[in-house]
Protein backbone atom coordinates (compact mmCIF):
# COMPACT_ATOMS: atom_id res chain seq x y z
CA UNK A 1 0.00 0.00 0.00
CA UNK A 2 0.93 3.58 -0.69
CA UNK A 3 1.69 4.81 2.80
CA UNK A 4 3.77 1.82 3.87
CA UNK A 5 6.24 2.30 1.07
CA UNK A 6 6.37 6.05 1.50
CA UNK A 7 6.96 5.57 5.18
CA UNK A 8 9.87 3.26 4.53
CA UNK A 9 11.35 5.86 2.22
CA UNK A 10 10.88 8.55 4.84
CA UNK A 11 13.06 6.62 7.27
CA UNK A 12 16.05 6.32 5.00
CA UNK A 13 19.22 8.20 5.81
CA UNK A 14 20.45 11.03 3.62
CA UNK A 15 21.43 14.63 4.01
CA UNK A 16 17.95 15.65 2.90
CA UNK A 17 16.30 13.22 5.33
CA UNK A 18 18.25 14.77 8.21
CA UNK A 19 17.03 18.29 7.47
CA UNK A 20 14.58 19.90 9.86
CA UNK A 21 10.92 19.34 8.96
CA UNK A 22 10.15 23.07 9.19
CA UNK A 23 12.87 23.91 6.70
CA UNK A 24 11.52 21.31 4.29
CA UNK A 25 7.92 22.49 4.71
CA UNK A 26 8.89 26.09 3.96
CA UNK A 27 11.03 24.99 1.03
CA UNK A 28 8.05 23.04 -0.31
CA UNK A 29 5.82 26.09 -0.05
CA UNK A 30 8.46 28.17 -1.84
CA UNK A 31 8.73 25.80 -4.75
CA UNK A 32 4.96 25.35 -4.96
CA UNK A 33 4.51 29.11 -5.13
CA UNK A 34 7.18 29.33 -7.81
CA UNK A 35 5.45 26.61 -9.82
CA UNK A 36 2.04 28.12 -9.23
CA UNK A 37 2.99 31.60 -10.43
CA UNK A 38 4.93 30.49 -13.49
CA UNK A 39 3.39 31.53 -16.81
CA UNK A 40 1.42 28.73 -18.38
CA UNK A 41 3.57 28.70 -21.52
CA UNK A 42 6.93 28.79 -19.72
CA UNK A 43 7.75 25.16 -20.38
CA UNK A 44 11.47 25.72 -19.87
CA UNK A 45 10.88 26.94 -16.34
CA UNK A 46 8.60 23.99 -15.60
CA UNK A 47 11.27 21.63 -16.95
CA UNK A 48 13.79 23.32 -14.69
CA UNK A 49 11.56 22.71 -11.63
CA UNK A 50 11.29 19.08 -12.65
CA UNK A 51 15.08 18.89 -12.88
CA UNK A 52 15.39 20.54 -9.47
CA UNK A 53 13.01 18.04 -7.90
CA UNK A 54 14.68 15.06 -9.54
CA UNK A 55 18.07 16.28 -8.30
CA UNK A 56 16.59 16.38 -4.80
CA UNK A 57 15.21 12.85 -5.24
CA UNK A 58 18.66 11.64 -6.27
CA UNK A 59 20.30 13.49 -3.38
CA UNK A 60 17.85 11.81 -1.01
CA UNK A 61 18.74 8.42 -2.54
CA UNK A 62 15.10 7.71 -3.28
CA UNK A 63 13.88 5.47 -6.10
CA UNK A 64 13.34 8.14 -8.75
CA UNK A 65 11.19 6.11 -11.13
CA UNK A 66 8.78 4.84 -8.48
CA UNK A 67 8.30 8.32 -7.09
CA UNK A 68 7.80 9.82 -10.54
CA UNK A 69 5.15 7.17 -11.21
CA UNK A 70 3.52 7.63 -7.85
CA UNK A 71 3.13 11.37 -8.35
CA UNK A 72 0.97 10.53 -11.34
CA UNK A 73 -1.84 9.66 -8.93
CA UNK A 74 -2.98 13.25 -9.37
CA UNK A 75 -3.37 12.83 -13.13
CA UNK A 76 -6.84 11.26 -13.36
CA UNK A 77 -8.39 14.31 -11.72
CA UNK A 78 -6.20 16.75 -13.62
CA UNK A 79 -6.66 14.84 -16.84
CA UNK A 80 -10.42 15.26 -16.67
CA UNK A 81 -10.11 19.00 -16.35
CA UNK A 82 -7.34 19.18 -18.92
CA UNK A 83 -9.62 17.38 -21.34
CA UNK A 84 -12.44 19.79 -20.59
CA UNK A 85 -10.13 22.77 -21.09
CA UNK A 86 -8.90 21.29 -24.32
CA UNK A 87 -12.46 20.77 -25.55
CA UNK A 88 -13.17 24.37 -24.59
CA UNK A 89 -10.35 25.36 -26.94
CA UNK A 90 -7.75 26.21 -24.34
CA UNK A 91 -5.00 23.72 -25.18
CA UNK A 92 -2.15 25.67 -23.50
CA UNK A 93 -4.03 25.64 -20.21
CA UNK A 94 -4.73 21.94 -20.56
CA UNK A 95 -1.01 21.24 -20.85
CA UNK A 96 -0.16 23.63 -18.06
CA UNK A 97 -2.72 22.04 -15.71
CA UNK A 98 -1.08 18.66 -16.25
CA UNK A 99 2.43 20.01 -15.83
CA UNK A 100 1.79 22.13 -12.78
CA UNK A 101 -0.36 19.69 -10.84
CA UNK A 102 2.07 16.87 -11.54
CA UNK A 103 5.09 18.89 -10.41
CA UNK A 104 3.26 20.08 -7.29
CA UNK A 105 2.32 16.52 -6.36
CA UNK A 106 5.93 15.45 -6.95
CA UNK A 107 7.20 18.19 -4.65
CA UNK A 108 4.74 17.17 -1.92
CA UNK A 109 5.71 13.53 -2.29
CA UNK A 110 9.38 14.51 -1.98
CA UNK A 111 8.65 16.11 1.39
CA UNK A 112 6.73 13.15 2.72
CA UNK A 113 9.32 10.66 1.45
CA UNK A 114 12.15 12.42 3.27
CA UNK A 115 10.38 13.28 6.53
CA UNK A 116 9.00 10.71 8.99
CA UNK A 117 5.48 11.75 9.99
CA UNK A 118 6.15 12.23 13.71
CA UNK A 119 8.79 14.79 12.78
CA UNK A 120 6.50 16.39 10.24
CA UNK A 121 3.76 16.73 12.88
CA UNK A 122 6.23 18.22 15.36
CA UNK A 123 7.41 20.64 12.65
CA UNK A 124 3.86 21.69 11.81
CA UNK A 125 3.17 22.30 15.45
CA UNK A 126 6.16 24.57 15.91
CA UNK A 127 5.10 26.43 12.76
CA UNK A 128 1.87 27.33 14.52
CA UNK A 129 -0.69 24.71 13.55
CA UNK A 130 -3.22 24.59 16.42
CA UNK A 131 -2.61 21.81 18.92
CA UNK A 132 -6.11 20.37 18.62
CA UNK A 133 -5.84 20.01 14.86
CA UNK A 134 -2.39 18.52 15.09
CA UNK A 135 -3.47 16.01 17.73
CA UNK A 136 -6.51 15.12 15.65
CA UNK A 137 -4.31 14.54 12.61
CA UNK A 138 -2.00 12.34 14.68
CA UNK A 139 -4.78 10.24 16.13
CA UNK A 140 -6.38 10.07 12.72
CA UNK A 141 -3.25 8.77 11.11
CA UNK A 142 -2.61 6.37 13.97
CA UNK A 143 -6.06 4.77 13.73
CA UNK A 144 -6.57 5.12 10.01
CA UNK A 145 -5.11 1.69 9.30
CA UNK A 146 -6.68 0.01 12.30
CA UNK A 147 -10.16 1.17 11.34
CA UNK A 148 -9.64 0.71 7.60
CA UNK A 149 -8.71 -2.87 8.33
CA UNK A 150 -11.96 -3.31 10.23
CA UNK A 151 -13.83 -1.80 7.31
CA UNK A 152 -12.12 -4.25 4.96
CA UNK A 153 -13.09 -7.17 7.17
CA UNK A 154 -16.68 -6.01 7.26
CA UNK A 155 -16.77 -5.62 3.51
CA UNK A 156 -15.37 -9.11 3.12
CA UNK A 157 -17.83 -10.54 5.62
CA UNK A 158 -20.80 -8.92 3.92
CA UNK A 159 -19.60 -10.18 0.57
CA UNK A 160 -19.34 -13.70 1.99
CA UNK A 161 -22.87 -13.52 3.32
CA UNK A 162 -24.35 -12.16 0.13
CA UNK A 163 -22.55 -14.48 -2.29
CA UNK A 164 -24.80 -16.83 -4.21
CA UNK A 165 -27.94 -14.89 -3.54
CA UNK A 166 -28.58 -12.80 -6.57
CA UNK A 167 -31.98 -11.74 -5.42
CA UNK A 168 -30.45 -9.24 -3.04
CA UNK A 169 -31.95 -5.99 -4.15
CA UNK A 170 -30.41 -2.57 -3.99
CA UNK A 171 -32.53 -1.81 -0.96
CA UNK A 172 -31.25 -4.66 1.14
CA UNK A 173 -27.66 -4.08 0.11
CA UNK A 174 -28.05 -0.43 1.00
CA UNK A 175 -29.40 -1.48 4.40
CA UNK A 176 -26.47 -3.85 4.86
CA UNK A 177 -23.98 -1.07 4.09
CA UNK A 178 -25.82 1.20 6.53
CA UNK A 179 -25.59 -1.44 9.23
CA UNK A 180 -21.88 -1.95 8.57
CA UNK A 181 -21.16 1.74 8.88
CA UNK A 182 -23.18 2.10 12.06
CA UNK A 183 -21.30 -0.82 13.60
CA UNK A 184 -18.00 0.62 12.40
CA UNK A 185 -18.95 3.91 14.02
CA UNK A 186 -19.81 2.15 17.27
CA UNK A 187 -16.50 0.31 17.27
CA UNK A 188 -14.60 3.49 16.52
CA UNK A 189 -16.39 5.20 19.37
CA UNK A 190 -15.54 2.33 21.70
CA UNK A 191 -11.96 2.40 20.53
CA UNK A 192 -11.68 6.10 21.28
CA UNK A 193 -12.91 5.41 24.80
CA UNK A 194 -10.37 2.62 25.15
CA UNK A 195 -7.62 4.97 24.00
CA UNK A 196 -8.72 7.53 26.54
CA UNK A 197 -8.67 4.87 29.28
CA UNK A 198 -5.14 3.90 28.31
CA UNK A 199 -4.11 7.57 28.32
CA UNK A 200 -5.54 8.13 31.80
CA UNK A 201 -3.91 4.97 33.09
CA UNK A 202 -0.56 6.42 32.19
CA UNK A 203 -1.16 9.64 34.03
CA UNK A 204 -2.60 11.83 31.25
CA UNK A 205 -3.65 15.11 32.82
CA UNK A 206 -4.94 17.06 29.84
CA UNK A 207 -1.66 17.96 28.19
CA UNK A 208 0.27 15.94 25.68
CA UNK A 209 3.96 15.96 26.45
CA UNK A 210 5.94 17.33 23.53
CA UNK A 211 9.16 15.63 22.67
CA UNK A 212 11.84 18.30 22.48
CA UNK A 213 11.47 20.47 19.40
CA UNK A 214 14.33 19.68 17.04
CA UNK A 215 16.93 22.40 16.59
CA UNK A 216 17.01 24.39 13.39
CA UNK A 217 20.68 24.12 12.48
CA UNK A 218 22.90 26.09 10.16
CA UNK A 219 22.61 23.28 7.61
CA UNK A 220 18.81 23.58 7.74
CA UNK A 221 19.08 27.30 7.15
CA UNK A 222 21.46 26.65 4.27
CA UNK A 223 19.08 24.13 2.74
CA UNK A 224 16.10 26.45 3.01
CA UNK A 225 18.04 29.35 1.51
CA UNK A 226 19.27 27.20 -1.35
CA UNK A 227 15.79 25.88 -2.04
CA UNK A 228 14.21 29.33 -2.08
CA UNK A 229 17.05 30.77 -4.13
CA UNK A 230 16.86 28.09 -6.80
CA UNK A 231 13.05 28.30 -7.00
CA UNK A 232 13.30 32.06 -7.35
CA UNK A 233 16.08 31.80 -9.90
CA UNK A 234 14.02 29.54 -12.14
CA UNK A 235 10.88 31.62 -11.64
CA UNK A 236 12.54 34.91 -12.53
CA UNK A 237 15.23 33.68 -14.90
CA UNK A 238 13.35 31.34 -17.22
Amino acid sequence: MHHVLVEQWSRRASWLHRRDARGKLLALVAILIAIGTTRIDAHAALAAYALLLITALLAARLPVISILLRSASVLPFTGTFALVSWIAGDAPRAISLLEKSYLSALAALLLISTTPLPRLFAGLESLGVPRLINLTVQFLYRYLFVISEQAQHMRLASRCRSSGKNNHGTRSRFAAATGSLAVLFARSYGRAEGVHRAMLSRGFAGHFPLLAAPRFTLADGGFLTAAIASALLVRVGL
Binding site: G89, K100, L132, T136, V137, L140, A177, Y189, A192, V195
Partner: protein, 302 residues
Amino acid sequence: MHIPDGFLTPPVWATLDILAVPCVGILTRRAQRATDESKLPLLGVLGAFVFAAQMINFPVGPGVSGHLVGGTLLAATLGPAPATVVMTAIIALQALVFQDGGILCLGANVFNMAIAGVLAGYLPYRLLSKRKSLALFSGAFLSVLVSACLALAELLSSGVKMPSGILGVSLGFFVVSALIEGGITVAVVKAIDRLNPAWVPAPQQSPRRQTGWIAVAAIVLAVAGILFASAAPDGIEKLSSDLGIASQTKALFSTPLADYDFKALPSEWLRKAAAGLCGLALIYIACLGLERLLRRRALPEA
Protein backbone atom coordinates in the same frame (compact mmCIF):
# COMPACT_ATOMS: atom_id res chain seq x y z
CA MET B 1 -13.65 17.27 -4.75
CA HIS B 2 -10.09 17.92 -3.63
CA ILE B 3 -8.51 20.58 -5.80
CA PRO B 4 -4.84 19.79 -6.51
CA ASP B 5 -2.16 22.45 -6.73
CA GLY B 6 -1.67 23.93 -10.15
CA PHE B 7 -5.36 24.64 -10.78
CA LEU B 8 -6.07 27.77 -8.82
CA THR B 9 -4.40 31.04 -9.63
CA PRO B 10 -2.42 32.75 -6.87
CA PRO B 11 -5.05 35.37 -5.97
CA VAL B 12 -7.66 32.65 -5.56
CA TRP B 13 -5.67 30.25 -3.40
CA ALA B 14 -3.97 33.01 -1.47
CA THR B 15 -7.27 34.68 -0.60
CA LEU B 16 -8.80 31.39 0.46
CA ASP B 17 -5.77 30.53 2.57
CA ILE B 18 -6.00 33.90 4.22
CA LEU B 19 -9.73 33.41 4.78
CA ALA B 20 -9.43 29.85 6.03
CA VAL B 21 -6.73 30.50 8.63
CA PRO B 22 -8.71 32.76 10.99
CA CYS B 23 -11.85 30.75 10.31
CA VAL B 24 -10.22 27.49 11.34
CA GLY B 25 -8.55 29.29 14.23
CA ILE B 26 -11.86 30.52 15.63
CA LEU B 27 -13.61 27.21 15.10
CA THR B 28 -10.70 25.33 16.67
CA ARG B 29 -10.88 27.50 19.73
CA ARG B 30 -14.61 26.92 19.95
CA ALA B 31 -14.05 23.21 19.50
CA GLN B 32 -11.46 23.26 22.25
CA ARG B 33 -13.98 24.80 24.61
CA ALA B 34 -16.73 22.41 23.55
CA THR B 35 -14.58 19.29 23.70
CA ASP B 36 -13.67 17.92 27.05
CA GLU B 37 -10.34 16.23 27.39
CA SER B 38 -11.86 12.74 27.18
CA LYS B 39 -12.99 13.47 23.61
CA LEU B 40 -9.48 14.20 22.32
CA PRO B 41 -8.90 10.75 20.87
CA LEU B 42 -12.50 10.64 19.64
CA LEU B 43 -11.96 13.43 17.11
CA GLY B 44 -9.05 11.63 15.49
CA VAL B 45 -10.64 8.20 15.63
CA LEU B 46 -13.87 9.44 14.06
CA GLY B 47 -11.76 11.15 11.41
CA ALA B 48 -10.25 7.74 10.70
CA PHE B 49 -13.79 6.33 10.63
CA VAL B 50 -14.85 8.82 7.95
CA PHE B 51 -11.72 7.96 5.99
CA ALA B 52 -12.43 4.24 6.26
CA ALA B 53 -16.14 4.68 5.61
CA GLN B 54 -15.31 5.64 2.05
CA MET B 55 -14.40 2.03 1.42
CA ILE B 56 -17.95 0.89 2.03
CA ASN B 57 -20.04 1.25 -1.08
CA PHE B 58 -23.71 2.08 -0.98
CA PRO B 59 -25.62 0.79 -3.99
CA VAL B 60 -28.17 3.37 -5.05
CA GLY B 61 -29.27 2.07 -8.41
CA PRO B 62 -28.27 -0.26 -11.20
CA GLY B 63 -24.52 0.11 -11.52
CA VAL B 64 -24.48 3.28 -9.45
CA SER B 65 -23.02 3.43 -5.99
CA GLY B 66 -21.82 6.13 -3.68
CA HIS B 67 -20.04 6.48 -0.39
CA LEU B 68 -20.31 8.66 2.64
CA VAL B 69 -18.56 12.05 2.59
CA GLY B 70 -19.26 12.53 6.25
CA GLY B 71 -19.31 16.26 7.01
CA THR B 72 -22.90 16.26 8.19
CA LEU B 73 -22.55 12.99 10.05
CA LEU B 74 -19.63 14.47 11.98
CA ALA B 75 -21.53 17.69 12.65
CA ALA B 76 -24.51 15.73 13.96
CA THR B 77 -22.43 13.50 16.22
CA LEU B 78 -19.69 15.86 17.38
CA GLY B 79 -21.15 19.33 16.89
CA PRO B 80 -20.17 21.81 14.19
CA ALA B 81 -16.91 23.21 15.53
CA PRO B 82 -15.31 19.82 16.35
CA ALA B 83 -16.60 18.52 13.01
CA THR B 84 -14.73 21.34 11.28
CA VAL B 85 -11.57 20.37 13.14
CA VAL B 86 -11.94 16.74 12.09
CA MET B 87 -12.67 17.62 8.47
CA THR B 88 -9.68 20.00 8.43
CA ALA B 89 -7.49 17.22 9.79
CA ILE B 90 -8.76 14.83 7.13
CA ILE B 91 -8.15 17.29 4.31
CA ALA B 92 -4.69 18.21 5.61
CA LEU B 93 -3.69 14.57 5.93
CA GLN B 94 -4.97 13.79 2.45
CA ALA B 95 -2.95 16.67 1.03
CA LEU B 96 0.26 16.00 2.94
CA VAL B 97 0.40 12.24 2.99
CA PHE B 98 -1.71 11.04 0.10
CA GLN B 99 -1.20 13.88 -2.40
CA ASP B 100 -4.98 14.07 -2.64
CA GLY B 101 -5.59 17.79 -2.91
CA GLY B 102 -2.98 20.50 -3.04
CA ILE B 103 -1.00 22.18 -0.32
CA LEU B 104 -1.17 25.77 -1.53
CA CYS B 105 -4.88 25.30 -2.08
CA LEU B 106 -5.36 23.64 1.29
CA GLY B 107 -7.17 26.80 2.33
CA ALA B 108 -9.56 26.42 -0.59
CA ASN B 109 -10.28 22.77 0.13
CA VAL B 110 -10.66 23.41 3.85
CA PHE B 111 -12.95 26.33 3.15
CA ASN B 112 -15.12 24.35 0.74
CA MET B 113 -15.47 21.15 2.71
CA ALA B 114 -14.56 21.76 6.33
CA ILE B 115 -15.98 25.24 6.85
CA ALA B 116 -18.74 25.93 4.33
CA GLY B 117 -19.56 22.24 3.93
CA VAL B 118 -19.88 21.51 7.63
CA LEU B 119 -21.77 24.71 8.37
CA ALA B 120 -24.20 24.17 5.51
CA GLY B 121 -24.67 20.63 6.75
CA TYR B 122 -25.28 21.63 10.32
CA LEU B 123 -27.63 24.60 9.96
CA PRO B 124 -30.68 22.63 8.78
CA TYR B 125 -29.97 20.00 11.40
CA ARG B 126 -30.12 22.64 14.05
CA LEU B 127 -33.19 24.33 12.61
CA LEU B 128 -35.26 21.23 12.08
CA SER B 129 -34.29 19.49 15.29
CA LYS B 130 -37.78 18.04 15.57
CA ARG B 131 -37.76 16.46 12.13
CA LYS B 132 -34.43 14.76 12.27
CA SER B 133 -34.54 12.82 9.00
CA LEU B 134 -35.50 15.81 6.92
CA ALA B 135 -32.90 17.90 8.71
CA LEU B 136 -30.13 15.38 8.15
CA PHE B 137 -31.10 14.85 4.56
CA SER B 138 -31.21 18.51 3.67
CA GLY B 139 -28.06 19.17 5.66
CA ALA B 140 -26.06 16.48 3.91
CA PHE B 141 -27.52 17.49 0.56
CA LEU B 142 -26.60 21.13 1.06
CA SER B 143 -23.21 20.26 2.45
CA VAL B 144 -22.08 18.34 -0.61
CA LEU B 145 -23.70 20.72 -3.04
CA VAL B 146 -22.19 23.81 -1.43
CA SER B 147 -18.70 22.26 -1.29
CA ALA B 148 -18.81 21.12 -4.89
CA CYS B 149 -20.21 24.40 -6.21
CA LEU B 150 -17.60 26.39 -4.32
CA ALA B 151 -14.84 24.23 -5.74
CA LEU B 152 -16.26 24.64 -9.22
CA ALA B 153 -16.55 28.39 -8.77
CA GLU B 154 -12.94 28.59 -7.64
CA LEU B 155 -11.79 26.63 -10.65
CA LEU B 156 -13.80 28.80 -13.00
CA SER B 157 -12.53 32.00 -11.43
CA SER B 158 -9.03 30.66 -11.91
CA GLY B 159 -9.70 30.59 -15.62
CA VAL B 160 -10.35 26.88 -16.11
CA LYS B 161 -12.67 26.89 -19.09
CA MET B 162 -15.73 24.71 -19.22
CA PRO B 163 -18.18 24.49 -22.09
CA SER B 164 -21.67 25.14 -20.82
CA GLY B 165 -22.76 21.60 -21.67
CA ILE B 166 -20.10 20.09 -19.45
CA LEU B 167 -20.87 22.63 -16.76
CA GLY B 168 -24.50 21.54 -16.82
CA VAL B 169 -23.56 17.89 -16.61
CA SER B 170 -21.24 18.58 -13.66
CA LEU B 171 -23.95 20.44 -11.84
CA GLY B 172 -26.35 17.58 -12.44
CA PHE B 173 -23.70 15.21 -11.15
CA PHE B 174 -23.25 17.33 -8.02
CA VAL B 175 -26.97 17.25 -7.35
CA VAL B 176 -27.03 13.47 -7.67
CA SER B 177 -24.01 13.09 -5.36
CA ALA B 178 -25.67 15.44 -2.90
CA LEU B 179 -28.87 13.39 -2.95
CA ILE B 180 -26.85 10.21 -2.37
CA GLU B 181 -25.01 11.81 0.54
CA GLY B 182 -28.36 12.87 1.96
CA GLY B 183 -29.72 9.34 1.77
CA ILE B 184 -26.63 7.72 3.23
CA THR B 185 -26.33 10.26 6.03
CA VAL B 186 -29.95 9.82 7.12
CA ALA B 187 -29.70 6.05 7.07
CA VAL B 188 -26.37 5.85 8.90
CA VAL B 189 -27.09 8.50 11.53
CA LYS B 190 -30.44 6.87 12.33
CA ALA B 191 -28.76 3.49 12.64
CA ILE B 192 -26.14 5.00 14.96
CA ASP B 193 -28.90 6.65 16.96
CA ARG B 194 -30.59 3.27 17.39
CA LEU B 195 -27.35 1.73 18.67
CA ASN B 196 -26.82 4.47 21.23
CA PRO B 197 -28.86 7.68 21.32
CA ALA B 198 -26.09 9.42 23.27
CA TRP B 199 -23.92 9.33 20.15
CA VAL B 200 -26.26 11.65 18.28
CA PRO B 201 -26.87 14.45 20.74
CA ALA B 202 -29.75 16.80 20.04
CA PRO B 203 -28.52 20.10 18.68
CA GLN B 204 -28.34 23.00 21.06
CA GLN B 205 -31.47 25.06 21.51
CA SER B 206 -32.71 26.18 18.13
CA PRO B 207 -32.31 29.81 17.32
CA ARG B 208 -35.29 31.76 16.09
CA ARG B 209 -36.65 29.93 13.07
CA GLN B 210 -36.68 32.81 10.67
CA THR B 211 -33.09 33.86 11.19
CA GLY B 212 -32.00 30.33 10.60
CA TRP B 213 -33.91 29.96 7.40
CA ILE B 214 -32.62 33.26 6.17
CA ALA B 215 -29.16 31.90 6.93
CA VAL B 216 -29.72 28.76 4.90
CA ALA B 217 -31.29 30.71 2.05
CA ALA B 218 -28.41 33.19 2.13
CA ILE B 219 -25.84 30.44 1.85
CA VAL B 220 -27.66 28.77 -1.02
CA LEU B 221 -28.15 32.05 -2.86
CA ALA B 222 -24.59 33.17 -2.27
CA VAL B 223 -23.19 29.90 -3.57
CA ALA B 224 -25.44 30.00 -6.60
CA GLY B 225 -24.43 33.62 -7.08
CA ILE B 226 -20.70 33.05 -7.13
CA LEU B 227 -21.11 30.02 -9.27
CA PHE B 228 -23.03 32.08 -11.78
CA ALA B 229 -20.61 34.97 -11.47
CA SER B 230 -17.60 32.80 -12.12
CA ALA B 231 -19.24 30.75 -14.86
CA ALA B 232 -20.48 33.76 -16.74
CA PRO B 233 -18.26 36.69 -15.83
CA ASP B 234 -19.14 38.33 -19.12
CA GLY B 235 -22.73 38.61 -18.00
CA ILE B 236 -21.66 40.22 -14.77
CA GLU B 237 -19.38 42.52 -16.64
CA LYS B 238 -22.14 43.53 -18.98
CA LEU B 239 -24.38 44.12 -16.05
CA SER B 240 -21.82 46.22 -14.27
CA SER B 241 -20.88 48.19 -17.34
CA ASP B 242 -24.56 48.89 -17.82
CA LEU B 243 -24.59 50.14 -14.30
CA GLY B 244 -21.37 52.04 -14.93
CA ILE B 245 -19.25 50.38 -12.27
CA ALA B 246 -17.04 48.28 -14.47
CA SER B 247 -14.31 50.83 -14.92
CA GLN B 248 -14.03 51.48 -11.22
CA THR B 249 -13.87 47.79 -10.46
CA LYS B 250 -11.20 47.34 -13.05
CA ALA B 251 -9.18 50.19 -11.64
CA LEU B 252 -9.62 48.95 -8.12
CA PHE B 253 -8.35 45.50 -8.87
CA SER B 254 -5.59 46.30 -11.32
CA THR B 255 -3.96 49.27 -9.60
CA PRO B 256 -2.45 47.56 -6.58
CA LEU B 257 -0.97 44.89 -8.78
CA ALA B 258 0.12 47.10 -11.63
CA ASP B 259 3.60 47.70 -10.21
CA TYR B 260 4.41 44.04 -9.99
CA ASP B 261 5.36 41.67 -12.71
CA PHE B 262 1.87 40.42 -13.44
CA LYS B 263 2.03 41.01 -17.16
CA ALA B 264 1.72 37.29 -17.65
CA LEU B 265 -1.71 37.40 -16.13
CA PRO B 266 -4.31 38.62 -18.56
CA SER B 267 -6.59 41.28 -17.17
CA GLU B 268 -9.64 39.23 -18.04
CA TRP B 269 -8.28 36.66 -15.66
CA LEU B 270 -8.04 39.22 -12.92
CA ARG B 271 -11.60 40.31 -13.40
CA LYS B 272 -12.83 36.77 -13.20
CA ALA B 273 -10.80 36.10 -10.11
CA ALA B 274 -12.04 39.29 -8.53
CA ALA B 275 -15.66 38.45 -9.23
CA GLY B 276 -15.31 35.01 -7.75
CA LEU B 277 -13.35 36.21 -4.77
CA CYS B 278 -15.76 38.96 -3.88
CA GLY B 279 -18.49 36.36 -3.80
CA LEU B 280 -16.44 34.02 -1.66
CA ALA B 281 -15.56 36.77 0.75
CA LEU B 282 -19.26 37.58 1.04
CA ILE B 283 -20.13 33.97 1.80
CA TYR B 284 -17.40 33.79 4.35
CA ILE B 285 -18.61 36.90 6.10
CA ALA B 286 -22.18 35.65 5.87
CA CYS B 287 -21.25 32.27 7.39
CA LEU B 288 -19.25 33.82 10.17
CA GLY B 289 -21.81 36.50 10.93
CA LEU B 290 -24.66 34.04 10.98
CA GLU B 291 -22.81 31.65 13.19
CA ARG B 292 -22.13 34.50 15.61
CA LEU B 293 -25.73 35.55 15.47
CA LEU B 294 -27.00 32.03 16.04
CA ARG B 295 -24.63 31.54 18.91
CA ARG B 296 -25.65 34.78 20.57
CA ARG B 297 -29.30 33.83 20.25
CA ALA B 298 -28.63 30.41 21.65
CA LEU B 299 -26.63 31.65 24.60
CA PRO B 300 -29.31 33.14 26.89
CA GLU B 301 -31.22 29.88 26.73
CA ALA B 302 -28.20 27.64 27.26
